[in-house]
Amino acid sequence: MSEATVSIRDLGKSFGGRAVLSHISSEVRPGDVVGVIGKNGAGKTTLLETVLGFSPPSSGSARIFGEDCLGMSAAVKARIGFVPQQDELLPTLNGRAQLSLTGSFYRHWDKALLERLAREWEVPLDRRASTLSGGERQKLSTLLALGNRPDLLVLDEPVASLDPLARRRFLQQLLEIASDSSRAVIFSSHIVSDLERVANRIWIVREGQLLWDGETDALKQSVRRLHVRAHHALPASLGFSRAPLSERRGPDGRTATVTVRDCSEQEVHATAARLQADIESEGLGLEDIFLEIHA
């Protein structure tokens, strides 16, 4: 197998004694598009920024293209593109000047690609950044990260201000990168439906931990919502082998809605028999899974 693009080992990060990330381990491989979801304050931005070596981890480590994130060589840095949540555009420069300024730091800078994308994405390159709309700023900020044709592109909430058409074009560009199969993308977004489309893998970050790290398809196949109905009051514990992700009881105590993970059909049948109840099993889309996990 080819070298991992990113490799994270037992990563932890604390600010002033408060743990923001703990025990995060994962790997990103070439061709991956990893979608990162989590509530506000779950630690997504800290995770992305710590992996990129913006500040030292409190424990564990992260490596990018085999180099420790705190001591990356210029050659490795030149293979990374990053779009921060808050853009860092210089207000008095117009788009074209921003692009060429950033490009001057790189040996390889694909001007033709940026000109083409700027046209396709309708980014007005001749206007100063201070006069651009939120969406235009985001698009320009993304262009800045694409100019070096990065092998690892990391985006922190890149699409929040984009209209649906711009978002779709942006997603197609991400897939273009992933089609290369030597390049990888990590991006966090609250627009779960976008991630569901293009991400082959999902990280769900909850309270600083990776609650799920795996294929989008596997996540959908693993999580199910069970509707339990009985003619008598259900016991306090329904007795699933793994603690359910969420559980709600009906007002009369005879019904329950339970979201479970990795629960086989056998276990569902056995549980139904044991509780003398009917259990109906329902699959969930990514957004519902996210909501159930945080219910």
């Binding site: 598009v33 779709r168 197609q172 089609s179 569901e196 889309g285």
Partner: protein, 125 residues
């Protein structure tokens, strides 16, 4: 040609597998019909290319599609009977797994279960 809903609870690759399977069985996709490349499909539906290639690989394993050197994937010749035997057996796998698990839970021997299964299969023929 295909309708893929990324927001469904059914994984995207599975939706594609099921649609191709149906169209081939139903005769709408004749043997030799070429499918769009992984890249084209991924771009058209804005989904990850791995999702498409996973579906194509599964369809290839089932004998529904065939991979040809330097050419797009195409619908394979569907032979009734022997050649699709493996594919049909594969369809039975979830039930077989379930049966095996139940048999173990009930502490029944393989011989006993096979005996019963043979009777059942015999009844139907």
């Amino acid at each position: 040609m295909f309708i893929l809903d990324p927001h469904s609870s059914v994984p995207i690759y599975q939706q594609l597998v099921e649609q191709v399977r149906r169209l081939v069985v139903g005769g709408q996709l004749a043997a030799g019909t070429e499918l769009p490349s992984v890249r084209e499909m991924a771009q058209e539906h804005t989904v990850h290319p791995m999702t498409i290639s996973k579906a194509y690989s599964q369809l290839e394993a089932e004998g529904i599609l065939e991979r040809r050197r330097g050419k797009p994937m195409a619908v394979a010749e569907q032979k009734k009977g022997h050649s699709s035997r493996a594919a049909r057996l594969k369809q039975l796998e979830p039930q077989l797994e379930q049966l095996a698990l139940s048999a173990r839970q009930l502490e029944l021997s393989a011989e006993e279960v096979i005996e019963q299964l043979k009777k059942k299969l015999g009844d139907r023929s």
